[in-house]
């Protein structure tokens, strides 16, 4: 994979020995097994729901977004279409992304003011998604830890409020991963019954706490555990994003027309 100039410079910087330590060893077998179980957690083939964002800054000013989200997961591609419905200032704006397992990803955006669907360059994994505290990488990872991204250093049992969890810790495999994701380490509480992380703290390239994600509600959609409500605290800026879903439905056979880029301009698709 080619590095952007910033990633290249950051790689050199980190390789020189400053900043956060980069893992150099192999994963702890028990920790790796936990991460593999999370990665193997079944995904539903398709789901549709109303997505709500509340974004609050340090001074308490809150912006809200509401969108219809269509999600399809096939062996070749994860496709996500988002049609914003609220507030009025961004209503009818639509975003479509294809995350191909092989090859470059693809993004499209429809802005009503321009009247055109525009093919967009792909953002870095570490770039923030539409003003939220979630990065594009967070969204794509879907509460899993990339087995090629991390060295899993420990997984010990821990009891919180009388419930037993696994405490999984990981360090970035390389300076390149730190540059791409913006994360050097993480520590997470894992619900081992559901193989779902419910509390994650990420550290930045300097080893300082960057982001804290708490999953507040889990539910099954088509037999797959799905985060229905979670909060992301950006620990350095004091900004917070709360995400929750309503009217979530399992839709295993979403029509391709839902993910047709040109059709973003037609507005929210109706399903049979």
């Amino acid at each position: 994979m080619l590095l952007t100039p910033r990633q290249f410079m950051l790689s050199l910087f980190l390789a020189a020995g400053t900043g956060a330590a980069v893992a150099g060893g192999a994963s702890d077998p028990a920790a790796l097994a936990t991460a593999q179980a999370i990665a193997a957690r079944p995904a539903n083939e398709g789901r549709v729901g109303t997505m709500h964002f509340a974004m609050r800054n340090g001074s308490g000013d809150t912006r809200q977004r509401e969108a219809l989200m269509f999600h399809s997961d096939t062996p070749e591609t994860i496709r996500i279409a988002i049609f914003f419905t609220q507030p009025a200032m961004i209503s009818d704006t639509a975003f479509l992304t294809f995350d191909h397992r092989v090859g470059d990803d693809e993004n499209w955006l429809y802005l009503p003011a321009t009247g055109r669907v525009r093919r967009l360059p792909v953002s870095d994994r570490g770039d923030y998604f539409m003003g939220t505290d979630l990065s594009y990488g967070d969204i794509k990872d879907d509460f899993k830890f990339g087995l090629e991204d991390w060295i899993f250093t420990s997984a010990r049992e821990e009891t919180v409020d009388g419930i037993r969890y696994a405490r999984l810790e990981g360090e970035a495999q390389s300076a390149r991963i730190i540059a791409e994701t913006g994360y050097s380490r993480f520590t997470a509480l894992i619900d081992t019954e559901r193989n779902f992380p419910v509390d994650i703290t990420y550290l930045d390239a300097d080893g300082d706490p960057l982001k804290h994600i708490v999953v507040e509600e889990l539910d099954t959609v088509g037999g797959a555990w799905t985060a229905m409500r979670f909060t992301v605290d950006q620990l350095q800026s004091g900004h917070t994003t709360v995400v929750y879903f309503t009217d979530m439905q399992h839709r295993p056979h979403l029509d391709d027309s839902v993910f047709d880029a040109e059709s973003l301009a037609y507005g929210v698709p109706y399903l049979d």
Partner: protein, 424 residues
């Protein structure tokens, strides 16, 4: 006359749909308010309020309707633009000099999967480049502020029909506008009133014609576009046939008449996504482009071959910086005749933008350069979004060049702008 009846029938149909809103599956409405204040070296030169009430209705799985009005109010004579360039059915209603009402959209649509049919007052946006018109020449365009608008081009909707289909990987888009509206120009004496002889059919700056009439065409605009996606590349070809949206100036007694002869455009586009970059290319050929000749014994026009070629790059740079760079060449075959415009115009645009603080702030810097005459513009802008419904834009249009230049002719209109957007 027929068009008037058609538009009245469509409005009546929309109103009837509103009246029976109860059984509809969903409905929504919104209002947008904009205020623009622009200050030049001479003080505040423009103060404008725009209200955009909008209604959208969804009727079952397949039918939808949209209605949007544009209500504009301005301090006296500060540039609401011409009305004479509109057809009778689309002409804004005006009260005094300062208040206008225009139908921005009035559509009835039927949709099934990737097929959509739309009747009514609408726009048709084609092309892949940003704010420069190579193949994007179906719509009438609001040019009362030339290119110095937030969204570019500012489209004027027209009454017509559009059908979009998809057959496998190929899409077909056919559109017809039965509405002769061609554009909206700055009024005489407005900040962006054209001054260069090249934009006035050869009439030198400072000479004011005794009268200016507009011959709004009766001809429809017809267009068809076929497009196809192969991997991460999109290609399209298109034909547009209808009145040109750039006027030629011809003598009319002691005055001047603006005419919009019919022309045909053959165009093609290509764009390719490669990770953090998207490459774009457009080309258009207009075999008989109406164009003014240098006046000898009076205003005269001819039809000559015109080529437009444009390329562009979108680049998502590290740190959330977005860059858009474009280059457009506009060439017209002169042969042994003298035209009022140069044989070749070369224009470049560069836009860099970045958002801050979870997209509450956005900074944009745009530079437009006419490389062939040395004129250009620098357009910095800063946007602040407060809560869900308020946005403030502070910007500037800093224009340089000579009075004879494509953009330099508006040098005296350099300005600082403040725009407030509020939605309800």
């Amino acid at each position: 006359m027929r068009l008037s009846r058609l538009s009245a029938s469509m409005l009546a149909a929309l109103l009837a749909l509103e009246a029976t809103a109860a059984p509809l599956r969903s409905s929504s409405s919104l209002q947008t308010e904009s205020v623009i204040a622009a200050a030049t070296r001479g003080g505040v030169s423009q103060l404008r309020v725009i209200l955009l009430p909008e209604t959208q209705l969804r009727m079952g799985r397949t039918w939808s309707a949209e209605g949007r009005l544009r209500l504009e109010g301005a301090a006296s004579d500060t540039g609401l633009g011409t009305r004479e360039t509109y057809s009778t059915v689309s002409e804004p209603w005006q009260s005094g000099n300062d208040v206008r009402v225009e139908i921005d959209a009035a559509t009835l649509s039927w949709r099934k999967r990737t097929t959509q049919l739309t009747l009514g007052k609408q726009t048709v946006a084609w092309g892949v480049l940003d704010g420069v018109q190579v193949t994007d020449r179906f719509d009438a365009v609001r040019r009362r502020e030339v290119v110095f608008t937030q969204d570019r081009p500012e489209r004027i909707s027209r009454w017509g029909a559009r059908a979009r289909f998809r057959f496998g990987d190929t899409r077909l888009d056919a559109a017809a506008a039965f509405d002769g509206t061609v554009n909206q120009l700055a009024g005489t004496g407005d900040a962006f009133d054209i001054r260069a002889a090249r934009s006035r059919g050869g009439i030198p700056a400072g000479i004011v014609p005794a009268s200016i009439d507009v011959d709004v065409p009766d001809n429809p605009t017809l267009g068809v576009r076929a497009s196809r996606t192969i991997g991460t590349s999109d290609t399209s070809v298109m034909v547009i046939h209808g009145p040109d949206t750039e006027p030629v100036f011809l003598a009319d007694g002691n005055g001047v008449e603006l005419r919009y002869p019919v022309r045909t455009l053959l165009g093609a586009t290509w764009q390719h996504a490669a990770g953090a970059r998207v490459w774009r290319l457009e080309g258009a050929y207009i075999p008989e482009q109406p164009v003014n000749l240098v006046p000898v014994r009076g205003l005269a026009a001819a039809k000559e071959s015109r080529w437009l070629i444009g390329s562009g790059l979108d680049w998502s740079l590290p740190g959330g910086v977005f860059l858009n760079a474009q280059l457009v060449v506009d060439h017209i075959a002169i042969g042994d005749i003298d035209l009022v415009r140069p044989e070749t115009d070369v224009v470049s645009t560069l836009r860099i933008q970045r958002s801050f603080r979870n997209e509450r702030w956005r900074a944009v810097l745009e530079m437009i350069n006419v490389l062939s005459d040395g004129s250009g513009s620098l357009r910095p802008a800063l946007t602040w979004q407060q809560g869900n419904s308020l946005a403030l834009d502070l910007g500037a249009d800093l224009i340089w060049g000579q009075q004879s230049d494509l953009i330099g002719q508006f040098e005296r209109a350099s300005r600082v702008t403040l725009r407030i957007r509020k939605t309800f």
